[in-house]
Point group: C2
Chain length 370, copies 2
């Protein structure tokens, strides 16, 4: 059992979560603020590794659902979080022993930590996908047959909705529409499971990974003349040695944002500003960065992570932060290996996002460098 | 306590419910079929008058929610109804003593009768509005402060959603969106209340009224050379002596149907086919017939009822049944007096439907005839 003891740790975790969000998942700033206030009140989130959780422990995911832009503007209130936990325990008919993130990327990294700190509940060092995704049913929990519901949904106005569906696809539709009807971010409990199921199905170590990546970025900024290359060097030293690549450095020449059917769609066109010949990278966006094509050739594709960073500071940028003229670097980072299996690609692969090509691993698209 | 004993009674009630639906509420044919099968199985719906219900009895409304067109195509399954009642009793924490229609107009007249017959529960001779309305919060229950939730929603695929909101407006938004997410009609329990509250707030006698109007239409068809005038004569003999008017007789010259934001919007233009000079009636539609204007002058307006009838048979027609060339008669029928009070008009008056005029009573718009 570790604990998050410093504001530095919270900031590092939040920054790492934006990196792992691959453009989506929303800015964790609100969650970070909330968590800082918990820390000031002496409530420190405790992190428990998957091995340490009892097989018969009762674990739930807690997450915000709604447009990332709303998530960012909307302050979370402590009583709402407490109500979420209490109503959930009533619906599930038992006490919750531990919390886990449904997705580690973006804002949803912070909410279990905040609730865990408030109620003295451990948060598992794991999550349901190892990145951010635009659908509730895009999780390893779902891929391996856990039901997303019963699910308790609450908002800050005192409304409560309990959802019990026979399929996770239906759960996604219903919960998305409830969020839209309530006109703001809602918070919910999802994927009730045992400790044994969490061990089997969760992506392990991702909370530590967010903290570690945040630390690497901070350290690269302090000690490296080129923070982006410093970050890449740091990623390569991590224990799981997942492939990473510098995909592009350049300037945003065009960026299109469109909100449609409750999602943020977009496309960013980058041009390289140095090195004699002209080169271009196009990134397609549905909340997350889905695919990056350099001069017409795919160089990284979902579920591998595509991360856009500020060129100077290596600050990870969510899709809604991209602006014309920004100087950025684009990094590809291999997804956790479980996401590259056929059963996972059937749920989070490129075709699920309407892309007309199959998944290809980052290190196959750009060989070498390991 | 009366009971509905014959298929004739069911058919009459269904036809009367279409009349009271004022163009909306959907065709009760599916509910009628369901109810007929209950009758064949020896399950007769029992009707209880408001005076006979105990003050401490526990009463709920049950209703279908969704586009009327879907409601008509979708067969209701008995196990779904039973599940609705059982889940509701669990959520409310007590046994249901009686059922009541949320709206008497259209299909939602039939569902409490069907469930009541199956489970041996009485159905109150009353409803929450005395007609059909396009929103769940347009009820006298809401007008006098009853909460529409907790509400249990079920569908035929085994999905369940429990909604608890702090306002009935929010309940309407959430429940409408859940219906849309589940892609079909859902059935729900609404407005849990005591017998005492039902006595205070429900519109009394409306189930008997539907049956009575159905009988009047049948009798007018059998015994009157002009069934429409026979119907008007019959309505005038009813005990509550609500004003009614023949607004127009003519042919549908133009009809526009548009489905937008989950509602059926439309406009029907009628031309008179007899009597020397040319005359025209325009009816504006949002699920229900909202306002009728004869040669530019308003002759009936919501919440008073506007009913379009087949000219020859006096068969009441829902808005989606209107077709170019149909010969029709249009009848105005005063709303129950409770709906004409200021507090009611604030919830179901013309302005709520985006109309730019205030309510005026049918008998003020067309004096005389009483």
């Amino acid at each position: 059992m570790k604990s998050i003891d410093s504001i530095q740790d919270i900031q590092d975790t939040a920054r790492g979560a934006v990196f792992l969000g691959a453009g989506g998942g929303g800015d964790p700033y609100v969650g970070e603020l909330f968590l800082r206030s918990q820390l000031s009140a002496g409530h420190h989130p405790r992190i428990e590794s998957l091995e340490d959780i009892a097989d018969d422990a009762f674990v739930i995911s807690v997450a915000g659902v709604g447009a990332p832009t709303v998530l960012v503007e909307h302050l979370v209130s402590a009583p709402t979080f407490v109500r979420l936990l209490e109503e959930s325990e009533q619906v599930y008919g038992r006490r919750v022993d531990a919390l886990v993130s449904a997705e580690i990327g973006g804002a949803n990294c912070m909410f279990p930590l905040a609730l865990g700190a408030m109620r003295g509940l451990p948060v598992l060092d794991a999550d349901g996908i190892g990145r951010a995704v635009p659908h509730l049913d895009m999780t390893t929990f779902n891929i391996y047959g856990c039901l997303a519901t019963p699910s308790v949904l609450v908002d800050d106005s005192g409304n409560t909705v309990i959802v019990r569906t026979t399929s996770n696809r239906t759960a996604e539709h219903v919960i998305r529409n409830v969020a839209s009807a309530l006109g703001a971010t809602i918070y919910g409990s999802f994927y009730p499971m045992t400790g044994r199921q969490a061990k089997q199905f969760a992506v392990a170590g991702t909370l530590s990974l967010a903290l570690e990546i945040g630390r690497i970025i901070r350290s690269a900024r302090e000690h490296s003349a080129d923070p982006v290359r410093g970050l890449l060097a740091g990623l390569r030293k991590l224990p799981d040695r997942r492939p990473c690549r510098l995909l592009f450095e350049g300037k945003i020449a065009d960026v299109l944002h469109e909100t449609r059917d409750g999602w943020h769609f977009g496309r960013a066109v980058l041009e390289s500003t140095h090195s004699g010949r002209r080169s271009e990278l196009i990134i397609e966006i549905q909340n997350e960065y889905l695919v990056a094509r350099r001069d017409g050739r795919t160089v990284a594709i979902v579920p591998d992570l595509i991360c856009v960073l500020d060129r100077e500071s290596a600050e990870p940028l969510t899709a809604e932060m991209l602006r014309y003229g920004q100087r950025v670097a684009v990094v590809g980072y291999a997804a956790p290996s479980v996401l590259r299996r056929p059963e996972s690609l059937a749920v989070v692969g490129p075709r699920l996002f309407g892309l007309k090509e199959d998944f290809a691993a980052l290190e196959a698209l750009i060989p070498g460098e390991e």
